[in-house]
């Protein structure tokens, strides 16, 4: 089975739900409406032979509506074809159906998406945080979350503090010059009046 045959079958089956389609270097990406994405995953696994879920990721289009986008990366070990299924998730209804019953590996992928982006997976057997600790109040990979973090505290369990960035975050500028010029500690490190004082050889 080739990527083109896969794409044709997806189109035949889910034509009303497909809202976007991209072909890039032989890989097909379909954007579907959220209620259809689980059916599409089931169809891809059971009929088209996509037995390997490579990853589930999420994108934060901060400022747009709908805000979030889920990406399912599928691969078939037998035929070697990649398939990417996407769906948008709005901030108001920040949830999506789980695919853990199709691919058991989706368990931890969905936990990571939930932990980092705050999208809940309906039907997930054990939707706990996976990277941050239980009780942490934020979802750090959202675009409106600062890199240095926010302070949080659960008494006697855990805390986090704002990390000192000293004018950062660390930046790299595509200019001429040596590493010290291209990669200052921070754009406005230390003295804001004389930011260049951290550059040894301007």
């Amino acid at each position: 089975m080739t990527a083109q045959e896969v794409a044709n079958k997806i189109r035949d089956q889910f034509a009303p739900a497909i809202t976007g389609e991209v072909a890039f270097r032989g890989e097909m990406s379909f954007t579907l409406q959220k209620p259809a994405v689980r059916d599409a995953c089931r169809f891809a696994k059971e009929t088209l032979g996509f037995d390997y879920l490579l990853d589930i990721t999420s994108v934060d289009h901060f400022g747009d509506e709908p805000r979030f986008e889920l990406v399912y990366e599928l691969y078939g070990l037998a035929h070697g074809v990649h398939l990417r299924l996407k769906c948008t998730v709005s901030e108001d209804d920040c949830s999506a159906p789980t695919v853990t019953d199709l691919w058991p590996t989706a368990d931890w992928h969905e936990r990571e998406v939930f932990d980092m982006m705050g999208i809940r997976f309906v039907g997930h057997p054990d939707l706990r945080r996976i990277l941050m600790w239980e009780g942490y109040p934020y979802h750090p990979l959202r675009k409106d979350f600062p890199l240095e973090g926010k302070s949080s505290e659960i008494p006697d369990v855990a805390f986090s503090e704002v990390a000192p960035l000293a004018g950062g975050p660390f930046v790299s500028s595509p200019t001429e010059g040596n590493t010290q010029v291209r990669e200052p500690r921070a754009r406005h490190a230390g003295d804001l009046a004389k930011p260049e004082k951290f550059i040894a050889e301007p």
Binding site: P140, A163, P164, L165, F170
Partner: protein, 173 residues
């Protein structure tokens, strides 16, 4: 015997008896058998392993017995990036270590968060547990760890516990 010298030596009874203070003897034993609790969390742990291997051989300082049980260890070597999530486990293991206990923060991350200025990383293990020796480097070479260990040995040699206990006992009498 003067206060300056911890050991007295009498040539008439040479080779058999050394007079010393309890504190000096205890400190000498403690500092030369520092069993580490290896808290290897990142690349610093590779250098910690190198310090344990034959070229650098941490056993020259009596610290080769890497105990993966906190109940049998004396010094926790925090080698690597301490994320907030791991910090819970580090604190828990530290609490399980019996007194007296010491802590070495090995490398930039354990000392200050290092280059990880981010929401996920504890900005220095001293936010959570008391640190005796900080070792700079990213990662530090094994020589630096051995130097830190020798600094800790020197620190332990200056500690006094029995003298204080004796004073407290005398006051109660």
């Amino acid at each position: 015997m003067t206060q300056q010298s911890p050991v007295a030596y009498d040539s008439k009874i040479e080779g058999n008896i050394i007079f010393t203070q309890m504190d000096s003897a205890i400190n000498w034993m403690r500092s030369n058998s520092l069993w580490p609790m290896p808290m290897g969390l990142a690349c610093c742990a590779i250098e910690l392993m190198a310090a344990g291997a034959s070229r650098f051989d941490i056993s020259r300082f009596g610290a080769e017995v890497m105990r993966f049980s906190p109940r049998q260890s004396d010094v926790m070597i925090v080698a690597g990036t301490v994320t907030y999530k791991m910090a819970l486990a580090v604190k828990r293991i530290w609490d399980q270590m019996p007194e007296p206990k010491w802590c070495i923060a090995m490398g930039a991350c354990a000392s200050s968060g290092g280059m990880y200025r981010s929401y996920a990383v504890l900005q220095g293990i001293d936010h959570l547990i008391p640190v005796d020796v900080y070792i700079s480097g990213c990662p530090p070479r094994p020589e630096a760890l051995l130097d830190g260990l020798m600094k800790l040995q020197k620190k332990i040699m200056g500690e006094h516990s029995v003298v204080d206990q004796k004073k407290a006992l005398l006051e109660t009498l």
